[in-house]
């Protein structure tokens, strides 16, 4: 069995060096979930700017593009570069394991992923993670 991708210990350790670099160079610790709050706020601002301006949580986490927002976008780009350059990029609407268990329906996967995402982010924010 050929090992797919890099050794996870090596890839993980190298990503740890990225963490150290970030804290040292920019004073920033890696995180992602605040970005979803800021983006939600930016989208809501289009429809109800007065409401967003008064909401306590959006006063705390101001809806704007900041370091972490760019970091999250960077994850997409970095992953794309790694995937395309190694030939492991693959358009897929239903993951293999999901398909085996729940079948090929795209809408079923979409519905559960959406609900799961909603729940996951609420929990992540509650835990302040």
């Amino acid at each position: 069995m050929r090992q797919d991708g890099w050794n996870p210990y090596v890839a993980g350790a190298l990503s740890g060096l990225v963490s150290i670099f970030s804290v040292w160079a920019a004073g920033k610790f890696l995180g992602a979930s605040t970005t979803f709050v800021r983006t939600s706020g930016m989208l809501e601002k289009w429809f109800a700017p007065e409401k967003v301006a008064k909401m306590e949580y959006f006063i705390r986490e101001v809806p704007k593009i900041d370091w972490q927002w760019m970091f999250v976008v960077g994850i997409l780009i970095g992953s794309l570069i790694a995937a395309v350059s190694s030939g492991s990029f693959k358009w897929q609407s239903v993951p293999d394991l999901w398909r085996q268990r729940f079948g090929p329906s795209v809408s079923r996967r979409a519905a559960i992923a959406f609900v799961g995402g909603t729940i996951a982010m609420f929990g992540a924010r509650l835990a302040d993670g």
């Binding site: 890839a11 990503s15 370091w67 970091f71 780009i77 799961g116 996951a120 992540a124 924010r125």
Partner: protein, 191 residues
């Protein structure tokens, strides 16, 4: 502006290694939750081990500040349980959903949209949560070395010893599993 560029570069590097480590995929994330695939555990603990040593070295040299979040048991325990349910359904976490999209797994888009809704709902619920759940067991900004009353390097050494022991256990288990399946164990990793 410089800060935004740093964010982008850091994200690109991190996303690159996440993809190379093969930790972004639904199958890997669910595999970890089912205790069937330990790739994510290996990646994550390796990251933490390296970052922990490096950041505390810089901290001891006075070059960086730590960024502590308050320990609020109500929020962490309830939030963790809720997050776990959502993670199990979605199969991506907030950061890796973008990475999964980057390698073409576009079902992550539904998760990203759901997470945006979840964040919006949380913002609505926040004034109420702040006076209830988020007051339960608030210990403020504490660290493990501080609670234990020991130097941080003792905690780090204990963490590293535990991590290496776990890695050795995982590798020997996987080797014996492969041997049982009649396959040649691929290149040995020893610690």
């Amino acid at each position: 502006m410089t800060e935004l560029v740093y964010g982008l570069i850091t994200g690109i590097l991190f996303g690159f290694f996440l993809q190379k480590g093969r930790v972004l995929r639904y199958d890997k994330q669910i595999g970890a939750l089912l205790f069937k695939d330990f790739t994510i555990i290996k990646f994550m603990l390796s990251h933490i081990a390296v970052a922990m040593v490096g950041v505390y070295l810089l901290y001891d040299l006075g070059l960086v500040k730590l960024s502590l979040k308050p320990t609020i048991l109500g929020g962490v325990v309830l939030g963790g349980l809720i997050f776990g349910i959502g993670w199990g359904l979605l199969g991506y976490c907030p950061g890796t959903s973008l990475g999964a999209l980057g390698e073409g797994r576009w079902d992550a888009v539904w998760g990203i949209l759901g997470m945006l809704l979840g964040a919006a709902l949380y913002a609505e619920a926040f004034p109420w949560l702040k006076t209830t759940v988020l007051t339960w067991g608030n210990y403020g900004k504490i660290t493990l070395p501080q609670v234990l009353g020991v130097n941080h390097w003792i905690v780090i050494a204990a963490f590293l010893a535990g991590t290496i022991a776990l890695f050795r256990f995982l590798e020997s288990r996987e080797r014996s599993k492969k041997a049982a399946n009649g396959l040649n164990p691929d290149k040995k990793i020893t610690f």
